[in-house]
């Protein structure tokens, strides 16, 4: 990864991702937090592209930006105005400590380890390879994921289905 474009892109995207993630923590208004979270997700998608993972990048946009954040917006809208506060609990100090410790440890480890990276270029095309892997090597987990999604959907429907009333 020598060319200037990728380096600039990495720093810009990293700044975007981390900056909006920090803003998500700090901002009080939950809707704005979700909007910033979407920005952060988009930054991560961009980082995937710098890692030549185009399929995952697009899936990231599709699922995180298109579905999960929309679900969050929906949940926020269905709760009252008082529920739109993004304040912290009294776990703030332990949280900061723990998170800081975590960041410090992982960074230290990743800097300290000799990763012995073999430089190989990016991928030409990941989508078909992933598809083949999913239906060949990982076919069991793939089926399980499908079952999981089904069960999750049924569970979600059952959870919000009002008891005792049969909706037409």
């Amino acid at each position: 990864m020598e060319d200037t474009g990728s380096i600039v892109a990495f720093w810009l995207l990293a700044a975007l991702t981390l900056g909006s993630a920090l803003a998500v923590v700090l901002i009080r208004d939950l809707i704005r937090a979700v909007v910033l979270l979407i920005t952060s997700f988009l930054g991560v998608a961009g980082l995937y592209i710098t890692l030549s993972a185009d399929f995952v990048a697009v899936v990231q946009v599709l699922i995180y930006v298109g579905a999960i954040s929309v679900l969050m917006l929906f949940a926020i809208m269905l709760t009252p105005r008082a529920g739109r506060n993004n304040a912290e609990t009294f776990f703030r100090i332990p949280g900061i400590l723990l998170a800081g410790l975590m960041a410090f440890t992982i960074s230290l480890v990743s800097l300290d380890t000799d990763w012995a990276v073999v430089e190989r270029g990016g991928f030409e095309e990941t989508a078909s390879a992933i598809g083949e892997a999913l239906l060949d090597k990982y076919v069991l987990p793939f089926e399980l994921a499908a079952v999981l999604l089904l069960v999750a959907m049924l569970g979600a429907i059952l959870l919000v289905h009002p008891e005792g009333t049969d909706e037409e």
Binding site: A67, A145, L149, L159
Partner: protein
Amino acid sequence: MAIELEHYLILGALLFSIGLYMALAKRNFVGVLMGIEMMFNAVNLTFIAFSRFPRFADMTDAERLSGHVFVIFVITVAAAEAAVALALAMLVYRNRETIDVDRMDLLKW
């Protein structure tokens, strides 16, 4: 300065920590969920980074793509988790009239 694996790992670590803090300290259920999603993202980023920077020269493309496959599974699970968690949030709100995690102190509702 070229971008190496460490850059991605540290970025992932920072993102993970921010997510962790949110998941721990946020009062609002949706806020907690946002933290968890952020942690997922950090982990995914690390996976993809590892798959981009392989350790062994004789790894085939298919082997290196395991990271991508794993990310796909993580995203699937995240979607399912988000749906169920938000359904739970709705249910809790309906019964307890709050989505403040501090006040969900009963194991039943």
